[in-house]
């Protein structure tokens, strides 16, 4: 088990952190998604291609590296489709190849379906993501498929307005297949949703005979767990940044003639928040390691990651806001941005109880 960062991972963290510090500071985050920042993130840092296999032009990294990047994009509250594209990339790299193996091993794959060949679609998508040309998103809900096009209403699609392509499971006569849908195609209606989280949007997507391309059978397992781990990494970044912000404020804000950080009423709360952060980081490193190196441990590690880190992130974001006092309740202060992202993330994959119920099942209680 590896719970510490390698030299390379520390360098990755440093380069993502300094890039976002300069290119996407909080005042800019408030203005929302900036395609130019996103293009540079993928161009200069190659972040969306991080976990794309090398044969498709990516870096072929694992979730342990991805977690380092997501922690930084989370800490910066980066707007836009990075997490959504990452989710889609995770789903794609977990598709079984023609030998039925899960994951991104062989390049010669998927040719059982359709004239153009699912391998072509797959290659197009992954190379597009790796090169930063394609922003994608993933649906957890199934859509309907009639042999040529898809139908269905997806109530809340993460970054649905920014994404170019939707990857979704579709019910077919041969079982559930993963399909890709161009979101600019005819038959697709997208409506931007006003969301609590100002830094990242969702869209309602209605598919009414929209053209799609079939990628292959939906993997039985592996995708959902990895989404849990990836999201937990982002949450780790959100909570770290929130704690850093309130610790910094507690060192400069004076009340009753003393810095507020010198009061035990404040200091002890911050110490407890630090304990949550330490445990959250340990769980994220463990879950990412399990995803890369110990698949048998992954389901339990992934459920643990969401059950612990999701809650801890919101609690830390909440207390960081409260400890700011009245200013933390104002629109112009950044505290609510963290609070809202933390809440949106906590319920992004579903109500938190599903992770706890999963743990109960895995523990055979």
């Amino acid at each position: 088990m590896k719970l510490t960062l390698s030299q390379e991972q520390q360098q990755l963290r440093e380069s993502v952190r300094s890039f976002l510090h300069a290119a996407s500071p909080l005042p800019k985050v408030r203005q929302g998604y900036d395609p130019q920042v996103y293009a540079r993130l993928n161009g200069e840092l190659g972040l969306s291609g991080l976990i794309v296999p090398e044969e498709y032009g990516g870096a072929g990294a694992g979730l342990a590296d991805l977690a380092v990047a997501l922690e930084e994009t989370g800490a910066a509250l980066l707007p836009g489709p990075f997490l959504a594209t990452t989710f889609a990339a995770i789903a794609l790299t977990q598709m079984p190849d023609k030998e039925g193996r899960a994951g991104s091993g062989s390049g010669s794959l998927r040719n059982q379906d359709g004239a153009e060949g699912s391998a072509t679609v797959y290659t197009e998508l992954l190379t597009g993501i790796a090169e930063g040309r394609i922003a994608a998103t993933l649906s957890g809900d199934e859509i309907g498929y009639d042999g040529a096009s898809v139908r269905g209403t997806l109530a809340q699609v993460l970054s649905g307005m920014e994404a170019d392509v939707l990857v979704a499971p579709a019910r077919t006569a041969d079982g559930v297949m993963m399909v890709s849908v161009e979101l600019t195609a005819p038959g697709v209606t997208r409506t931007a949703l006003e969301t609590l989280d100002l830094t990242r949007g969702q869209a309602k997507v209605v598919l009414d005979g929209a053209p799609c391309r079939v990628l292959g059978p939906q993997p039985e397992s592996g995708i959902g767990d990895r989404l849990c781990v990836a999201l937990a990494a982002e949450q780790l970044g959100v909570m770290r940044a929130a704690l850093d912000a309130i610790v910094a404020y507690a060192k400069i804000r004076v009340a009753f003639g003393r810095y507020i950080g010198s009061y035990q009423g404040v200091k002890h709360k911050l110490a407890d928040m630090h304990g949550k952060l330490e445990q959250a980081e340990s769980i994220v490193r463990y879950a990412a390691w399990a995803a890369d190196e110990s698949p048998a441990e992954l389901p339990g590690a992934a459920a643990l990651a969401q059950a612990y880190v999701g809650r801890a992130c919101f609690e830390v974001a909440r207390d960081h806001l409260l400890l700011h006092g009245g200013i933390g309740f104002t629109w112009e202060h950044d505290a609510h941005l963290f609070y809202k992202r933390a809440k949106a993330d906590e319920v992004l994959i579903g109500p938190p109880r599903i992770h706890r119920a999963r743990l109960a099942d895995l523990l055979e209680l």
Binding site: G275, Q279, L363
Partner: protein, 388 residues
């Protein structure tokens, strides 16, 4: 030998040599000493201590590997835990060569038992306000005063004693550390029952106890910096479970509870899930600290966060288990009655939760310290202890 091999060998040795079952009445110390001697001969005592003082001169990696193997055994080493985890490492760091030569090997071989004499009735969290006096008198020191909460003192041969040597300077600047002979006629050890009803610790009275100057650890009036070294080792050894054996038989563990409670009840299931989440979160944090230490990043005050979390988990776990088990858990002979009685100890011993939070706030987060009135006043002019 690579680490995995080292761990396998340690495991095999422990399997072969760890005594099982309860020792015959009154025979626990003999058994513990015999086991320590075997541990020493097998090269598993003082794994990271320097070779010249009886240790193995290996790295933290080997020590952690041994600790990992030992987690599955109930080692009878409790009476040595203060010596191995706190006073021994303090002498390794701060003792003279003569002290190391004299004391470390007998400790590692299980021949001598150690206790730590810091806290007093009037000085617990604020241990630097202690009042036990050591007065210099012709090449030796004469000690008078009282200590309290001293684990294993009733078995101890030696104690690491923090005493006041100067009352005319501020409190931190007038302390000196000594090694005191617990068999000296002026030392009285009185067992003190804790709230579980067991005499797990003691109060100690010093009545004109003499200590030779060569048993002074560190400079005169520099005892506070030595004590800080000891306390750091204490918190790390508590959170890492040094010398404590495994937790696997704990009556409030998930494994124990799932055997006895109705897990078809969704509320029970969710509470057990909460126990699992908290236990795993802390276990992984401790493992990460261990891996960082192996990589040369010393955890320092972050060990206090781990100790705080362990104290909270201990209270939560015993509390939850008694709630789940119900009325029978509060009968005196039920293991959970012991567990709920012992649980507050972890939140008090080795620094209270409030002190741990101060340490994390000050030293990990770098928050401003509280204004202090006691740092500049000479000790003799300071209010200490309990004052009506």
């Amino acid at each position: 030998m690579d680490l995995a091999e080292y761990r396998r060998a340690a495991r095999a040795w422990l399997q072969e040599n760890t005594p099982t079952g309860e020792p015959p009445e009154g025979d626990g110390i003999t058994r513990a000493k015999e086991f320590m001697a075997k541990l020493y001969d097998a090269g598993y005592s003082g794994i990271i201590w320097p070779k010249q003082w009886g240790g193995q001169g290996l790295t933290l990696a080997e020590e952690r590997a041994f600790a990992a193997a030992a987690r599955d055994f109930a080692l009878p080493t409790y009476v040595f835990s203060i010596g191995l985890g706190m006073t021994g490492p303090t002498l390794v760091d701060r003792g003279t060569d003569a002290q190391r030569e004299r004391f470390l090997r007998p400790l590692l071989r299980g021949e001598e038992i150690w206790c730590q004499l810091f806290s007093e009735p009037g000085a617990g969290s604020d241990v630097a306000s202690l009042q036990t006096r050591a007065v210099h008198d012709g090449g030796q020191w004469v000690v008078n005063g009282q200590k309290v909460w001293t684990s294993v003192a009733h078995h101890a041969d030696w104690g690491l004693l923090l005493a006041r040597t100067d009352v005319d300077v501020p409190k931190h600047q007038g302390l000196t550390m000594f090694v005191v002979d617990m068999h000296h006629p002026g030392v009285t050890v009185r067992p003190l029952k804790d709230m579980s009803g067991r005499a797990n610790f003691n109060e100690i009275f010093f009545d004109n106890v003499t200590i030779p100057d060569e048993h002074r650890v560190g400079e005169v009036n520099d005892g506070w910096s030595v004590a800080v070294t000891t306390l750091l080792h204490e918190r790390l050894s508590i959170s890492a479970g040094v010398g404590m054996g495994g937790q696997k038989d704990h009556p409030a563990s998930l494994e124990a509870l799932r055997q006895t409670v109705d897990t078809s009840d969704p509320l029970v299931r969710d509470q057990l899930v909460e126990l699992h989440i908290r236990s795993r979160a802390l276990a992984l944090f401790n493992q990460r600290l261990a891996q960082e230490t192996e990589a040369g990043i010393f955890p320092g005050a972050r060990g206090s966060a781990a100790k705080l979390l362990l104290a909270e988990l201990t209270l939560f776990q015993a509390d939850l288990a008694t709630q789940l088990v119900g009325p029978e858990s509060v009968l005196a002979d039920h293991p959970l009655a012991q567990a709920i009685s012992l649980a507050p100890g972890m939140a008090l011993g080795g620094g209270t939760n409030e002190i741990m939070r101060n340490i994390v706030g000050d030293r990990v987060l770098g928050l401003p310290p509280e204004p202090r009135v006691d740092k500049t006043v000479p000790f003799k002019d300071l209010k200490v202890g309990t004052q009506a």
